[in-house]
């Protein structure tokens, strides 16, 4: 299993975010992260555009409007607006795709 964690443990001794699958374009944070923080994700640096609360997701790359948001290596929703890298990815910019993925 892939599971890429941040290299530097967070203040509480916890890792700061997790990327579950290498195909994912979002990471889940495991402690509150602040706007303007710069995170090293793989080979690139990502600057957070907003505060990201614990349990929430931020984008690892730009997701154009209408493209899929990928977590667990699977589509979890579709971007309703263009989402830049480092932005908070949640209900305000992602729609559910449940009917699409429920087919065999």
């Amino acid at each position: 299993m892939y599971y890429q964690f941040s290299e530097v443990p967070g203040l509480a001794g916890k890792r700061r975010y997790v990327v579950i699958d290498e195909k994912d374009n979002v990471a889940t944070v495991v402690e509150n992260l602040r706007k303007a923080e710069v995170l090293e994700v793989g080979a690139k640096n990502i600057t957070l555009l907003r505060d990201i609360p614990e349990g929430h997701k931020f984008t690892l790359s730009r997701i154009p409007k209408g493209k899929y948001v990928v977590k667990y290596g699977e589509w979890i929703g579709r971007a309703t607006v263009e989402i830049p890298a480092g932005d908070h990815a949640h209900v305000h910019n992602i729609e559910d795709i449940v009917d699409e993925v429920r087919k065999l």
């Binding site: 001794g13 889940t28 609360p53 929703g77 795709i97 449940v98 429920r102 065999l104």
Partner: protein, 378 residues
């Protein structure tokens, strides 16, 4: 190490089960069980039910009396109920059983006194049963989650999934249920099925549940993800479902089961637990013959079952620290990045083997159990 039952099944406990045949006899069954410190199975069915609901109640109760963790059975009836007490007793096969009817013995007080005597006899009859060697491949593990948080989807559920993969590799079986939770991942699960028919049924069982809500003018989607899920960072129903189904691991799905239906094979099985959540879904999956329930919980759900040890697993360190008498297993090293998912899955399997060998889970130590039979079985 477990108990070998007459028909070859392997149990991990040797419970005396006090089973009311009908909701009317529940208080008497409860009094008998409390006085004798044995397990009771309260429910609200057994009379006034029709069709699939009636069959479902009977199927779950048959699953209880024939369960490999149950060594002896006392059924407690009224006398005028719908449940066929003879059929129920027959399901216990060669186990020691007794039956009382409140009308026959002359009322509540006499029924409790007689029940206590009969449980005493049953205890004596199974006293000599010794634990014997059973193989890990004889285990069927039911999986469930509740009071979920972020750590459930990204750490404890995948860790249980790694356990599932390992157990199946060793020849065991795993059940994943909770139809409402499967809904958003039904397509993904269907594509993992061994045959197209199994895949079609996975989608169909979730359709039946959604149609049930539609007939009432509602949708499963209204409540999902919940406000708490959204506040916690879950964005879509698909995301929630994908996190949930990770408990089943990554192997091919071998078949589907109806609510409470007996499992007859190895590998990964999907049970339609229908409308039932929480203890109802747990009862359905355990009634299939699963000997242990692996239960992931972020916030710390207190569930325990009178039918099987429930191993409660959390990846949330705060929950481990605060809810000592609820949590059995600390999967937080995965969330902290100190342990891989596979290593944690391996530890969970070791814990399950220890529990199978007699190690008590928190719910057994504290005696808090929940049992309920869902009244909708689609």
């Amino acid at each position: 190490m477990g108990y070998r039952r007459p028909h070859g099944q392997a149990g991990v406990r040797n419970y005396v089960a006090v089973v009311p045949t009908v909701l009317c006899s529940v208080p008497i069954a409860r009094s008998i069980a409390e006085a004798t410190h044995v397990n009771v199975f309260p429910h609200e069915g057994g009379c006034g039910q029709v069709g699939s609901e009636k069959e479902h109640t009977l199927r779950v109760l048959e699953g209880v009396v024939s369960h490999p963790n149950v060594g002896a059975v006392l059924t407690v009836g009224l006398n005028c109920e719908q449940i066929d007490a003879t059929r129920l007793a027959e399901a216990a096969k060669d186990k020691p059983t007794r039956h009382i009817r409140i009308h026959d013995v002359g009322g509540n007080g006499k029924a409790v006194r007689r029940g206590v005597e009969l449980v005493g006899e049953l205890k004596m009859e199974i006293l000599g049963m010794k634990r014997t060697r059973i193989g890990v491949e004889e285990l069927t593990i039911a999986t469930q989650c509740g009071s979920s948080d972020t750590g459930s989807g990204i750490a404890s559920n995948p860790a249980v999934g790694a356990m599932s993969d390992e157990l199946i590799e060793l020849g065991g079986a795993v059940i994943i249920g909770e139809t409402g939770s499967l809904y958003g991942a039904a397509g993904l699960m269907a594509r993992r099925a061994a045959t197209k028919e199994i895949g079609d049924e996975i989608i169909a069982m979730t359709d039946r549940l959604e149609n049930y809500y539609k007939r009432m003018g509602h949708s499963l989607r209204e409540g999902n993800p919940t406000p708490g899920n959204i506040a916690g960072g879950l964005t879509t129903l698909v995301e929630k479902s994908l996190g949930g189904v990770r408990k089943g691991g990554t192997t091919t799905i071998r078949g589907t089961l109806g609510p409470g239906e007996r499992i007859m094979g190895k590998g990964l099985w999907v049970m339609n637990t229908s409308h039932g959540i929480g203890s109802c879904a747990a009862a359905d999956m355990l009634a299939s013959g699963a000997q242990i329930l692996a239960y992931t919980t972020g916030g710390g759900n207190p569930i325990g079952s009178p039918l099987a040890p429930v191993v409660k697993i959390t990846a949330t360190k705060k929950t481990v620290d605060r809810l000592e008498d609820i949590i059995d297993f600390d999967a937080s090293p995965v969330l902290l990045g100190d342990e891989t998912v596979e290593e944690c899955g391996n530890r969970i399997l070791e814990e399950i083997v220890a529990v199978a060998g007699g190690k008590l889970v928190q719910a057994e130590k504290t005696g808090y159990t929940v049992f309920a039979i869902g009244n909708v079985a689609l």
